[in-house]
């Protein structure tokens, strides 16, 4: 059992800079939570506060109902995996993995069993006599994870563990983390700025910006129903296209294009009739055929799909079209919008049914 609860957490540095504002989160036992956001949004600071490496300025942190807000890091029963691995270069992999237990003066035979078990899980059995410098980046990161596993902590904390790896290795190590989570069924908090990692790994995502939580939800919730323009733009690759449009008698009128609304959409946008809103359309929700004309500037073939960049009546637009296309600069493509997202122009919050914001 490891249920973590963060209530009204603030982080204010000595120079009065506030990095985290009123952070609230309940992490269930065995859940993998991903904190995602751009650099400087406060996600690593939050993780470090949970780990005990940063003081919590305000709020309460509890682990299984026990208040650990002021508990020193060493007594929190949490293990952290860092971006730079933080392995001891002069020690072998075995010694690195056994180090924390050796410091605790555990029985060497027990340490041995734990290290071998962790090495087996992480497929490091044949590497135990090597030094970290003899391993690849992915293997080193697995050692860092192994060092956490042997401690059998209540909570695993990952601070951008894949950022130092190349794309191929990142993808492979990501799969290993998913398998590891399934196997250990441990509570994990994972920080990343990579939305692909967040979408693929998380049970729930916490999307942050400027120290504020923007939305907490499952990857699909954040993808399909983003709370605001920030989440809509941050989650999904390429980012969502955002247009300024006006709601006029059942249609959306943009600069040089018009989009008819379904009765349900009309009802949703009824309070915004004759007002300006922001329209969001994901590139993958744009298809060929339709009435709107897109002027192509670049064509990026990805194999199964093609990213076509261009302008829609002067507005920048990216479409992810199915199949292989060979459009050239200056070509015109007829497009249609599929699923659309509406946002209040002033608050940037999503407009949901009955004109409710969010």
């Amino acid at each position: 059992m490891a249920e973590l609860s963060l209530k009204h957490i603030d982080k204010i540095y000595d120079n009065n800079v506030q990095a985290v504002f009123d952070f609230n989160l309940d992490v269930k036992d065995g859940e993998l939570i991903v904190l995602v956001g751009p650099s400087g949004c406060g996600k690593s600071t939050t993780l470090r506060m949970v780990a005990g490496l940063e003081d919590i300025s305000k709020g309460t942190l509890t682990l299984d109902g026990r208040d650990i807000t002021q508990t020193p890091a060493k007594d929190r029963d949490m293990a952290m995996v860092f971006q730079n691995y933080a392995l001891y270069g002069h020690m072998t992999i075995y010694e690195n993995m056994a180090f924390s237990l050796t410091l605790r003066k555990e029985d060497p035979n027990v340490i041995h069993k734990k290290v071998l078990a962790a090495a087996e899980i992480l497929d490091l059995t044949t590497q135990l006599n090597k030094k970290p410098s003899q391993l690849s980046g992915g293997q080193r990161q697995r050692v860092a994870m192994g060092r956490s596993i042997v401690r059998s902590p209540k909570v695993f904390l990952f601070d951008e563990p894949l950022s130092n790896l190349d794309a191929k290795l990142r993808s492979a190590t990501r799969r290993e983390i998913i398998l590891l989570h399934k196997r250990l069924n441990a509570t994990m908090l994972y920080v990343t700025h990579d939305q692909t990692e967040a979408l693929t790994l998380a049970d729930r995502i916490v999307c942050m910006s400027m120290g504020h939580v923007q939305q907490i939800g499952t990857p699909l919730e954040l993808y399909l129903n983003p709370n605001n323009i920030f989440v809509a733009s941050f989650i999904g690759l390429p980012p969502m296209n955002i247009f300024d449009v006006a709601v006029k008698d059942g249609t959306l009128v943009g600069k040089g294009f018009t989009v008819p609304l379904t009765p349900e959409q009309k009802a949703t946008l009824a309070p915004y009739n004759n007002k300006e809103i922001s329209l969001g359309v994901r590139p993958e929700d744009i298809s060929e055929g339709g009435d709107m004309v897109m002027d192509v500037t670049t064509n990026e073939n990805l194999g199964m799909n093609t990213l076509v960049h261009g302008h829609l009546a002067g507005n920048r637009i990216t479409a992810k079209l199915k199949g292989w296309t060979n459009y050239r600069d200056g070509d015109q493509v007829k497009i249609a919008f599929g699923r659309m997202h509406f946002f209040d122009k002033e608050t940037t919050q999503a407009i949901r049914k009955d004109g409710n914001v969010k």
Binding site: T92, Y94, E95, P108, N109, H112, K113, V115, L128, N129
Partner: protein
């Protein structure tokens, strides 16, 4: 896996620091012997000069260097459970015992050249140094044989 097996299995990933440290201790004891031997008590300095300043002194100094180098290399060898270094250590230990009869005994035989206390101290250093080497060698032999048998059984199990 029972405790005995785990203890042996641990050796696959840990060094034989016990033997290695004993070998290093043998070097320290040899240094103590070396810095104590020329501290003569004879009031007539010329008699000491006559006794010590011979080719034997040069050979003794040279052997000290060889001993320290060989023991250090052996300590690294036994650290990795290499059994051959145990035999080198047995040889070095035998020479340490033999050295008792070269300088301390012959110098002590010269009246007034060495006190009884100094003589006993020198013998103790050499004997302890030899014992450390024998201990290191025996521990290494036992461990390296156990590890070799364990590794063979693991490989047989894999096959």
């Amino acid at each position: 896996m029972d405790d005995q097996n785990i203890r042996v299995d641990r050796m696959r990933f840990s060094k034989n620091t016990q033997s290695s440290r004993l070998a290093l201790l043998a070097i320290v004891l040899n240094v103590l012997f070396f810095i104590s031997i020329y501290k003569y008590v004879c009031k007539d300095a010329s008699r000491s000069d006559e006794f010590y300043y011979t080719a034997l002194m040069g050979a003794s100094i040279l052997y000290n260097l060889v001993f320290m180098l060989a023991t250090f290399l052996s300590s690294e060898g036994v650290k990795n459970y290499k059994p051959n270094f145990s035999y080198i250590m047995f040889g070095l230990a035998a020479i340490q015992i033999a050295r008792i009869f070269i300088y301390p005994v012959s110098a002590h035989a010269q009246s007034g050249l060495m006190s009884d206390g100094q003589f006993i101290r020198l013998i103790v250093y050499l004997v302890l140094s030899a014992l450390c080497l024998v201990g290191a060698a025996l521990i290494n032999l036992a461990k390296s044989r156990a590890l070799a048998a364990h590794t063979a059984s693991l490989e047989a199990g894999k096959a």
